[in-house]
Point group: C2
Chain length 143, copies 2
């Protein structure tokens, strides 16, 4: 028997239930890809491609819906990085990112790699929701 799959399935069902979401075939499949598979920085486009490749029958609409639902549930976090597409991160804890300007690839910055020394005073009447640090990198142009 595939004990591992069963246990994983139960885990994912639990995850969904705690998020107040029904355990549909599509959501289980995406959750497996996202949380069971080690994916870290996702775009809707990429996740849809992976889902399709994995044989999951699902629509783009549902991928978008699911990413947003998972984000609302606190299972994912949006990264402000690229004005042309939304990135989601499976790591919802405070941390920061390298963004390759050429390829669009994203990578975590190791926990102690940067530190924001002192939080600035927010504009009056506003409170700080979070801090995003994006370190833009690229392969140096050939001399």
């Amino acid at each position: 028997m595939n004990t591992h799959a069963k246990r994983n399935d139960a885990y994912l069902r639990d995850l969904l239930q705690q998020a107040g979401l029904r355990a549909t075939r599509q959501r289980l499949g995406l959750a497996e890809l996202i949380f069971g598979h080690g994916e870290r920085h996702l775009t809707a486009e990429g996740l849809y491609a992976d889902a399709t490749k994995a044989g999951l029958r699902i629509s783009q609409t549902t991928v978008y819906n699911t990413l947003h639902q998972f984000t609302e549930a606190g299972l994912l976090r949006e990264i402000l990085a690229d004005p042309r597409r939304i990135y989601f991160d499976t790591n919802v804890h405070p941390h920061h990112h390298f963004l390759d300007e050429e390829t669009g690839d994203m990578e975590d910055i190791p926990a102690d790699g940067v530190a924001v020394s002192a939080l600035p005073t927010p504009p009056p009447g506003k409170t700080i929701e979070g801090v995003d640090v994006i370190v833009r990198v690229r392969r140096p142009a050939p001399a």
Copy 2:
């Protein structure tokens, strides 16, 4: 006479010339709005609206073209802040931003408001192009 306007015009013509751009009516108009007017955080949409409001006959295409040309010339800088739209900043020096998550408004963080303590080591073969810090703020939800 409008000495001020003349001087300003000459200044803007010079700015364009040094950027290798012809001093067209449209570019002069936009440069006036952007650099003579104190605008700081622009979107194409907003600049187009302001230009139209100011009586400048111009197309959206030219606004997009001009923003990119100014950016290439180092007169503006793109800000990675909102996956849904590109922000440009007239301040091209290293500094960071507050982003109001509800309104989309952007504000500079005073120079000494944040500091990134130590730049992280970039992935092998890559060099750091720049660092963007976005502090997301919002009006706290009523209790």
